[in-house]
């Protein structure tokens, strides 16, 4: 891959002595929508947290747009995060702020824009996610899909280079799922972003992403375009992509350490 924006090299990540990721390497290309897939608890969200610098690898390195996030100071890490938007699993909107204030927060914090310019940019972003007219609403009065779209508007308001999505479709009805999927594609292409999506929704992945990584049993087991992975005859990939019960990926609970060691994905 030419000039990847995210390089993950030989990462080993342990939690409480339990290995979560072992010798995982990924190159994520600029401008692409990339999915990280795998069974629940395999460490997909852990990879997003390693990219955003919330977690540090036990071994290996993570480079984001030329910066080695695994060795940055707190201040440098916060500077680096200004180029990264994140949409968390539940949206994580600030419950004491209106929709407008939620979307405006990064601008107020990191830019010197005057109030009129902030208002223009926030309204334009809300319009682009189909939520014009909701600016005075509080987060508790939004549906799951609307909250996810507000969180998307907030994640891209600073025009970041990279947006990380943690299970953006979970808990949404099929229409809301397609709407959020379409918005991710439009936003990615219009703003020239790189989007990294953690998901286990194979159907959405086939429709939405350009490239995909599959994790299982602490390892990266496959990567490729959705079409390549669908046609793969590698048993673990075939089991995951087609949702088969029988196969090399174990469905059984293994031990307490392993269940506590993996982040919810």
């Amino acid at each position: 891959m030419k000039d990847p924006i995210i390089r993950i090299r030989n990462v080993l990540f342990k939690r409480d002595e339990k290995v979560v990721l072992d010798d995982v390497s990924m190159n994520i290309g600029r401008g692409k929508i990339v999915a990280i897939m795998g069974p629940s608890g395999v460490g997909k969200t852990t990879i997003l947290r390693l990219i955003s610098g919330q977690l540090q690898p036990s071994k290996g390195s993570i480079e984001v747009d030329g910066k080695l996030v695994s060795s940055l100071s707190r201040r440098a890490l916060y500077d680096c995060r200004k180029d990264i938007g994140v949409l968390l699993q539940n949206g994580a909107l600030f419950t004491d702020l209106t929709v407008f204030e939620n979307v405006a927060t990064p601008l107020r914090e990191h830019s010197d824009l005057i109030e009129k310019d902030i208002e223009e940019r926030v309204m334009a972003k809300l319009e682009s996610v189909g939520l014009a007219g909701t600016e005075e609403l509080m987060p508790h009065s939004l549906s799951g899909g609307m909250a996810r779209r507000v969180a998307l508007a907030r994640a891209v308001i600073m025009n970041p280079k990279i947006v990380l999505f943690d299970e953006p479709m979970t808990g949404l009805d099929p229409i809301a799922m397609s709407t959020v999927g379409r918005l991710i594609r439009e936003t990615n292409d219009q703003l020239g972003l790189t989007s990294v999506i953690v998901t286990h929704n194979v159907v959405q992945m086939k429709r939405l992403v350009d490239y995909c990584f599959i994790l299982a049993g602490e390892k990266l087991i496959a990567e490729g375009t959705p079409e390549e992975l669908m046609q793969s005859d590698e048993p673990a990939v075939d089991q995951f992509m087609n949702g088969r019960v029988e196969g090399p990926i174990s469905f059984k609970y293994q031990n307490a350490a392993s269940s506590s060691a993996t982040s919810p994905s």
Binding site: Y78, R81, N90, F94
Partner: protein
């Protein structure tokens, strides 16, 4: 004898936690930037945790004043000195009961609300979202609440004292029929500004900082679960109450 430093050591855990809390305070104060945003959010929090605690503080102050004068008159009558009631009520209120009882009430009313609010923000990933937006939640969430506690408690103590005196006046003069002139003149001549009044003010500033620091600290480090938030609020009340009483003794021994 060998002491092994482990994270689970029951002996050393409180010391480690005190150190951790001190580092949290240093992190909070070292990043202070006196900007408009901080002023606005501190004022908002002062309203939420200070002004909204006023009613409970006034009611409790009023009845503490009444019961204090009832007990004092009852005791002083045996020596024929019931006209000294305002001296006894005033000294005990300004020096001890005002700051201590207000701090305990503040811990129950505002401390729990701060810990629960921050704990819930953590459980719903709002703190994480803030970190990911390159906003320091310690500065944005914890600091305004800490400063608001520092400002609110001395003011609430003043209100508590005022209503306690009012309660004492109503009981002593209105019910027991003491002479108002004697009551007020004894109060005026027996309460010293630097020793009694300012002593209480210093105590309330320290207690305000203590209670709000404990509340933001336990809220910030609460486990992101329902049980974790519950534990954080309980620990806030218990630790605040115990530490207020310990610090009260320490400060009194220096101020007396």
């Amino acid at each position: 004898m060998k002491i092994h430093w482990t994270q689970n050591s029951k002996l050393l855990a409180p010391i480690a936690e005190t150190g951790h809390c001190g580092i949290f305070l240093a992190r909070m104060l070292s990043g202070i930037r006196f900007e408009r945003e901080l002023l606005i959010s501190t004022l908002q929090q002062t309203y939420l945790i200070g002004a909204r605690s006023l009613v409970i503080i006034m009611i409790c102050g009023f009845f503490v004043g009444m019961v204090l004068s009832l007990q004092s008159i009852n005791a002083l009558q045996q020596f024929g000195a019931s006209d000294q009631v305002s001296l006894l009520v005033g000294k005990s209120l300004f020096r001890e009961l005002g700051p201590v009882l207000t701090a305990l009430l503040f811990a129950g009313r505002a401390g729990t609300s701060i810990a629960a609010e921050i704990g819930l923000m953590k459980a719903t990933s709002q703190i994480e979202a803030m970190q990911l937006m390159a906003i320091d939640p310690v500065q944005r969430i914890a600091l305004p609440r800490f400063l608001a506690g520092l400002i609110s408690l001395p003011l609430l103590t003043a209100m508590f004292n005022a209503f306690a005196i009012l309660g004492a006046v109503m009981f002593s003069i209105g019910v027991m029929g003491l002479d108002p002139g004697i009551f007020w003149s004894k109060l005026q001549t027996s309460i010293y500004f630097s020793k009694d009044f300012m002593g209480g003010v210093w105590k309330s500033v320290v207690f305000g900082g203590l209670v709000s620091l404990i509340a933001v600290y336990f809220g910030y480090y609460a486990k992101p679960t329902g049980e974790g938030v519950g534990t954080a609020t309980t620990r806030t009340v218990v630790m605040s109450s115990v530490l207020v009483l310990i610090f009260d003794f320490i400060m009194t021994s220096f101020l007396i």
